[in-house]
Every structure is written in structure tokens, then in C-alpha cells.
């Protein structure tokens, strides 16, 4: 047999693969590397990392399984893919927890060395699934990854443990061959990462190449696959997660405003990466503050805004609950602050590492008293960049706290991002009153946008006091006067409602009228857009629209809704936007609610659409 015979190559449009293994197996790492290689190659990509809440659950246990899904395509894609076309399972626990997502006939590559009796037991298998016929629906490839990897590294003298740790790169190499991915980006990354430990770099590179050559030479795989480049809009790209995008957006906004950024946060999954990222940008004048708790993070953000900084904090659901009293103080003192909520499964501690969008009502209504503020939501990882800038723009123009909702799915998920030209981004104009205004200065006097002046400590003649007690209109003295309270409550509400004039209209994908509108918000954008497009392509009169501005809603929202016979609102919660839309527009919207810690599949939404058209 000639093992060097060139194998056939099959072309595909779109592939979703999933790496899964123990949380110590480095699956997130190789998933990220595969994504980078695919993005640099020129595919559109969308990712879904999925990790356990436990840092290191017992090795081989079901609780310790970590996974990373990547959808890469020659077309424009918006989700990590409904079904997994190929899965790499490093142990039985990973196989067991992930196999149900693999399509019938899909590829399943397992590390054959990890299926000993005790491994199987830890995963709760009574018999070996590789031998009992239970995987007959799939194309299963048993590769002794541990053995082959150790064999490839045996003359390196780095010790068995260090060698064993390279097996994720062996698996990556194998999959890279299978899908014709370039190895160079990964090799370069390994060299940079392990620059100080050349023997480890060498071992990982060798494992990667060994995996690649194994695919090429072994008799196992009859074909490999090719996924041509996508026709993305021209430009320079990089891959960006939502959390990275928020960080870049906040720094950008501060630069556009010509002010330093202050970011205070208390570590919380899945928002901590924003803090990590921003703490690296000190040379932009960014000051990060890891506060003693969520409340202090919010309170210090208010203090920094009072001092004149672009001030922001980030958190997730339970943290947002803790911040609420201080956010109310921000509404009352009318200070420009941004609160980023990377939503996760709730209530209470809930599902810290899983996604959900159940904080919408908390963001819109979750404070004591009549306490309106502006609420925004990003719809994709890259959109987090734009929305973070929007948040700062609105906060500083209207002197109001802005909550930016993202979620674990878009926060950790990645997609290609067209790098903007910073020179072309519109500046954020901020005017502070000066001593020259002293004679007419009143701390609660309002401009045409109903914003009060942002007078900074240190300015002679403008000394004033702000606080949480109701203030007299204009003068800002403490006031318990009934009519003044009515007036101030009304003014604060009117100010927030007035933001509508800056908000772009709600865009409709598809015809502006029809039988069904699929309305969504936040991270469900990709699945909803794809499902509605599929139904439309089949001739149905279905359009979709996605809200990025949730308080206030875009001015044309009611008009858009009125042009459709039915409105479907799919949400990863119990129907929160549906409640707001019904209350605001008296539209009998229909819900599709899902709270499983996972994003929507396109098919779930599509099926609901079709069922409503019957």
C-alpha cells in the first residue's frame, strides 16, 4: 500500500467542529488557535466556548468537561452552528456530554488511549461506547492520541508529564489537516508564547506537526476537506470576543472624548475579562480599580465621574443586583457612567458560565423609585465595540447612567471584526462649565437635552453639592417640596425618553411588511436573522428586526411592529422583551422562551416561525 498516495479533497461551505475534553486538556486553547487559523485563512468564523463552573473538577468527570465550538464558512455566518459536523473528544466524559450535538453521520474523533475501564466508569459508561455499537450513527475514528503524541516527543527529554500536556496540539494538528488549515499562525503563536522555554515550544510544535502528518499519512481518513475563503467586506480584520470588544470600545470612547478612562470592577464570571483587558491599557491613561465588592465598584465609578473621568464598571447579573442602589444614586445625581452587564444564567448564582438574557427587566426597572436610565444591548461580539462607544456617547451627552447588556455567549464568543480607522470615528464632544460661568451656574440647570452641567471639582466658583436626596430644580438644594419632586421625576423621565432623537431607527431585514416579524435583542441576533432569512428564502413573508436600544426604544418601533400580522419575540428568558413591547405598544407578541444556558439554534427559531405561519 502506498501511504503517500494523495488523498481526495472535498469542498464544503460551512463546518462546525467541537473540541472537547477535560478542563485540564487545553481545549479552549486549541479551539482558539483553530479559530485564529481559520479567520486568518479567510473564513467567516463564529465561536461558542463552553466551560465548566468548576476550575478543576476531578479529572475525567462529567462536571469537568470543557468544550469549544467553531463554525467556519465560506459564507457570511452569524452563529456557531446548530449541529456539530465533527467532534474531537479527548475522553469518555467529553464524548458522553457532547455526542448529542453531533449530526447523524458526523465525524467523531476520540482519543482511544483515554477509554480504559476506569475512564469509562468516571464518565458513567457501563460498556465501552466505542465497542458496543451505540455510536453506529457516526463516523467514529479511534486515534491513540496519547501514545502517538508521546512517541513523537520521546527523544525530547522534557519528561512524561510535559510531553503528555502537548496532546491537545497533536489533536489540533490532526484536525488542521482534516480541514486544510494552515499551521503557521499556530506555530508562530507557540513560539511567542513559549519564547522563554524553547524546549516546550519545540515539543508543542512537534506535536502539532505530528498530528498533521498522521492525518496525511495514516489510512484512517479517506478524504480531507477544504472550506474556501469567505467573501467578507474588504478591509483589515482581526478576531474579537465580545469582552475584548467592550474593552476596546471603552478605551476608544475615552480617547474620542479626550479624557482618561476609569474602570472599576469586582471579579465575576463572565465579565472579568473586560477588567483583565483594560488593565493592560495603562499607557492610554486607563485606571483600573479592582474594588472590594460590586457596590464599591459602582460607587467609585460615580466618584470618578464626579471627578471628570469617563467612568465605567462591568459585572454580571448578581453583581448588577448589588449595584442597583448606587446606580439609582447615579440617576439621581445625573452623572455619566456606563455599567456593562455580561449576562449569565440566573437567578441568584444560577449558571455562572452559561449564557442567558434574563437581566433585561432588571436593567430597565430594577431600582427603587421612578428611576429611568438608558439601556443598550450588543447583538454580536464585534457589535460590543460600537455599543460601548454608544454607551459613553449617550451617558456624557445626557448626564445619565447607561447600562450596556451583553451576555456570556457574545462576551466569550468571537467573530471577525473590521478594524476601523480611529481618525474616522466621530469625536465625543464634552463641555464642562468654567469659572466664567460662575455667576449664572446652577448645578441642576438643564440644557436643550435636559442634561445638567458637568461641573468639575477644582473649578473656582462652581462649588456645589450633589446627592441622593431629591434636589430643587435648578438650584440643587435639598427639597422635600411635593410639586418639585413631581417635576424632577418627570424631568428625569423626559430626559431619558429624549435620547430617542439620537437613536438610529430599527432596521428591518426583509420586507418592511409581511406575515411575521421576528423581533429580538442582544446576543440572539445571529440565530434570529438566520432563521428568518431561511424562512424568507423559502417564500414566506417573514422579516426580522433586532433591538440594540431598549430604553428608550427607537422611534419607529411601533410603526415597524404595526406592519406585520404577527410578531414573534424569541428570547433566552421567560419573555422579558415581550412584556415591555406589549406594555409599550399593545401588540399581542408571541414568545419563544428558552432558558437552558445555551444560545438558540437556528432550527429552533425556524421551526417556531413555520408553525406560526400555518
Amino acid at each position: 500500500m502506498d501511504t503517500l498516495t494523495k488523498k481526495s479533497v472535498q469542498q464544503l461551505d460551512e463546518v462546525a467542529i467541537r473540541f472537547c475534553g477535560d478542563s485540564g486538556d487545553g481545549m479552549q486553547l486549541v479551539g482558539t488557535q483553530f479559530t485564529n487559523a481559520s479567520a486568518i485563512f479567510g473564513n467567516d468564523v463564529s465561536t461558542l466556548p463552553d466551560f465548566p463552573a468548576e476550575i478543576r473538577a476531578p479529572a475525567g468527570s462529567l462536571a469537568g468537561v470543557s468544550g469549544f465550538q467553531i463554525n467556519f464558512s465560506s459564507r457570511d455566518i452569524h452563529t456557531p452552528g446548530d449541529r456539530v459536523n465533527a467532534m474531537i473528544a479527548m475522553n469518555p466524559a467529553a464524548l458522553r456530554t457532547n455526542i448529542k450535538d453531533v449530526e447523524v453521520g458526523g465525524i467523531v474523533i476520540v482519543n482511544d488511549d483515554a477509554f480504559s475501564k476506569s475512564d469509562l466508569q468516571k464518565a458513567g459508561y457501563e460498556s465501552n461506547p466505542l465497542e458496543d455499537g451505540s455510536l453506529s450513527k457516526y463516523r467514529v475514528y479511534r486515534v491513540p492520541i496519547t501514545k502517538l503524541n508521546n512517541e513523537a516527543l520521546k527523544d525530547l527529554n522534557i519528561g512524561a508529564k510535559a510531553a503528555g500536556r502537548c496532546k491537545n496540539f497533536y489533536a489540533l494538528g490532526l484536525v488542521a489537516w482534516l480541514y486544510s488549515r494552515p499551521l503557521e499562525p499556530t506555530i508562530k503563536w507557540i513560539q511567542d508564547k513559549f519564547g522563554k522555554k524553547p524546549e516546550i515550544a519545540e515539543a508543542n510544535i512537534r506535536a502539532l506537526k505530528a498530528g498533521y502528518y498522521y492525518g496525511e499519512t495514516a489510512e484512517l481518513f479517506p478524504t480531507s476537506f477544504r472550506i474556501p475563503r469567505a467573501k467578507l467586506a474588504p478591509g483589515r480584520y482581526r478576531k474579537l470576543t465580545g469582552n475584548e470588544a467592550v474593552a476596546l470600545g471603552l478605551v476608544t470612547a475615552a480617547e474620542l472624548a479626550g479624557k482618561p478612562l476609569f474602570y472599576a470592577s469586582y471579579p465575576i464570571t463572565p465579565a472579568s475579562d473586560i477588567l483583565h483587558q483594560l488593565s493592560m491599557y495603562k499607557n492610554f491613561g486607563v485606571k483600573t480599580f479592582q474594588a472590594e465588592d460590586e457596590i464599591a465598584a459602582m460607587a467609585s465609578t460615580l466618584g470618578a465621574a464626579f471627578g471628570g473621568a469617563i467612568a465605567a464598571t462591568g459585572t454580571s447579573g448578581p453583581g448588577l443586583a448589588l449595584k442597583m442602589e448606587a446606580i439609582g444614586l447615579g440617576v439621581m445625581t445625573e452623572l455619566p457612567v456606563v455599567i456593562v452587564d455580561v449576562q449569565r444564567g440566573g437567578p441568584s448564582t444560577g449558571l455562572p458560565t452559561k449564557t442567558e438574557q434574563a437581566d433585561l427587566l432588571q436593567a430597565v426597572c430594577g431600582r427603587n423609585g421612578e428611576c429611568p436610565l438608558c439601556v443598550l444591548a450588543a447583538r454580536s461580539p464585534a457589535d460590543c465595540f460600537d455599543m460601548a462607544i454608544w454607551a459613553v456617547r449617550i451617558a456624557t451627552k445626557y448626564m445619565v447612567p447607561v447600562i450596556l447588556l451583553t451576555d456570556g455567549y457574545i462576551g466569550n464568543g468571537a467573530e471577525p471584526w473590521v478594524i476601523p480607522d480611529p481618525e474616522k470615528l466621530p469625536k465625543i464632544e464634552i463641555k464642562h462649565p468654567t469659572s466664567a460661568d460662575a455667576s449664572s451656574f446652577l448645578p441642576y440647570q438643564r440644557n436643550e437635552h435636559l442634561a445638567r452641567p458637568w461641573a468639575l471639582p477644582g473649578t473656582p466658583g462652581l462649588a456645589h453639592r450633589i446627592g441622593g436626596i431629591e434636589k430643587e430644580d435648578g438650584a440643587g438644594h435639598i427639597s422635600y417640596d411635593p410639586l418639585n419632586h413631581q417635576k424632577m421625576v418627570d424631568l428625569r423621565a423626559k430626559k431619558v425618553a429624549g435620547i430617542v432623537k439620537d437613536i438610529p431607527p430599527l432596521e428591518v431585514n426583509g420586507d418592511p411588511q409581511g406575515d411575521l416579524l421576528v423581533l429580538g435583542w442582544g446576543g440572539t441576533y445571529g440565530a434570529l436573522l438566520s432563521a428568518a432569512s431561511r424562512a424568507r428564502a423559502e417564500g414566506h413573508r417573514v422579516s426580522s428586526a433586532h433591538l440594540q436600544f431598549l430604553n428608550p426604544f427607537p422611534a419607529n418601533t411601533g410603526d415597524v411592529l404595526s406592519r406585520f400580522k404577527k410578531v414573534l419575540i424569541p428570547e433566552l428568558n421567560g419573555g422579558q422583551l415581550r412584556k415591555l413591547i406589549r406594555a409599550e405598544y399593545l401588540v399581542d407578541a408571541i414568545g419563544l422562551d428558552k432558558v437552558q444556558g445555551k444560545p438558540f439554534l437556528i432550527s429552533e427559531v425556524y421551526e417556531k416561525i413555520i408553525s406560526l405561519l400555518k
Partner: protein, 340 residues
Amino acid sequence: MHHDTSLPVLTAKDFTTDQDVRWCPGCGDYSILAQMKKVLPTLGIPKENFVFVSGIGCSSRFPYYVETYGFHGIHGRAPAIATGVKAARPDLSVWVATGDGDGLSIGGNHMIHTMRRNVDLKILLFNNRIYGLTKGQYSPTSELGKLTKSSPMGTVDNPIHPCSLAVGAECTFIARALDADVKHLEYVLQRAAAHKGTAFVEIYQNCNVFNDGAFDYAAVKDHRAEHVLYLEHGKPMIFGKNRDKGIRLNGLEPEVVTLGNGMTEDDLLFHDESASEPVLALMLSRMTHPQFPEPLGIFRAVKRPTFDELLDEQVKNATKRLGRGRLAAMYDDGETWEVS
């Protein structure tokens, strides 16, 4: 940046607001406000560079009564708000007015962490051992067994020593003063203002409505000398109307001794506010009436870099090392690719 070399001469009047002061007549807060207004003009700081931050409670009305920038916050959060102000604006002189409930109960966590970070804030904790604004419930400094509205059978909560907490939290400046001793209060405020780092000042303050006379043992002039120990750096710890009593160390515990009969000043403890270890400060913070005279003055004043200074330095160092950040370079960090 103020290059104003000729600062206008300020007086207490310059710090008087147009607000009616709404504390109960006879409240100890008036004395604190008066001494504060006396001290502020002497500090050589432009008036507009002062910021007063407070939480909730009677003491927290303070910012309304000084003509500076002010932020009346929410219950317990003043140190956190003030940390934000100071982090963003190290050029400002930031003061916190708080109370025993605000600062030690609902806001205890912020108090601890502000002190350990050594944020350059001056914290005035008005201790009246009661909740005044909510009309008379016991506070974390109320003595055990105290009868209040919320403890008709007496409290079962052991009180906290505020200055001990400050020692435990690594505070770099810890002091105690008394509303009734205005001269000494003024001195302590001066010292707090001069300190770089967190200055924690516990002020015994009489709430004449809900806890009248709580500090009479110290406040009433006739027996103050017997019940109070004025701390002086480098001096022996002597007290008493006739200055005939002192504090001596017996093993690891302090004891009151009478001078004479062979007992000399040299046998007494000498105060050292700058001792690098806070053992002495801790001991002083735990000496309570009636067993001991209660110390007033500076328990501890040591130097440590401040949080805001270090934060600023990191920005400066990073900028020096990497150059001023540019957005284009930030966007390009990592792998990029062209699509044409």
C-alpha cells in the same frame, strides 16, 4: 494644575454655605463643623480643590454645610465614592464624613479596604454610639446591654473599637478626638489634613437627643483629666488632674499606676505614634473607660505610598515604557488579516 502663587487668604466664613444647618440644637456635630471650617482655610489648598463625600446619617449632612464641592452618597458607600474621586483626581483634597452606623456597620467593608489601600482620604467618623437619623436604634459602637428602641431588653451585640479596626486594616493614620475639646479637635484635624494617606479620625460626638451624655466621662470638663489620656509623641503616658497617674506595661497589658513612691515617669510607657509595628496603637485603641483613661490624640502616623499615587505611577511608567497609547496600534494587537 494650579500655578496660582498668590492664594487668596481664606477664613472660616469662606467655607460657610447658604444652607440652614439642620442638626438638632446642641448636637456635637456643630463643634466638628466649626473646627473643620477653622482648619480648612489654613491648609494652603485652593477652596475649589476640596471635596466632601458622605454617606447617610446625621453626620453625612456635613457636605451641605461646607462651601466646597460635595457628594452626599448612599448609606455606607462614602469611602468607595471618595476612592473613585481621588483615583480620578489625585489633585483634590478629599474628605469623608461618616458615622458609627454608616462607616462601621453598613459600610464596614469599604472602610476596611480604603484603609488597607491607603487611599489619600481624610475620614472623619462621628461616633455617637447610636443611630440618630433613624431615631435611636443601637449602633455597632453601642455598649453591650444598652437599652434602645430596638433593644428594649438591652443589646446582645458586642461593640467594636473603631480604632482597633483601623489598626487591623493597616491604616497609616489613626486618631481620636472629642467634640467638646475643640482645641484638641482642631489639632487632630490639622494633623489628619497633613497626613498623606488614609487618615482615620474617630470623633466622640454627643447625640443629645438619642444618646445624651454618652461621653460625659470624657466630655464634662471637671473629670476629663481623670478619664482621658492625651497622647503626645515621645512623651510618657501621664494623666489625671494632678498629672500624678500614668500607664505602665505589665507583661503585655497596660495598667494604671500612681506616680511617686519610687514610681517615676521613666517607668511609664512612652508614646510612639510612628512605631513601625502597630502593637502600641492597638493596645491604646482597646483601653476603655472606666478601667482606663481613654486615649485622645494620634495613635499612629506612619508613611506608606498611597493608592492613588501608585495608580498614577503605573500610568506614568506604562506610558514611559510603551509610549502614549494609540488606538490604531491597540486595534492591531494580535493577528490581523486583509480582505480585498
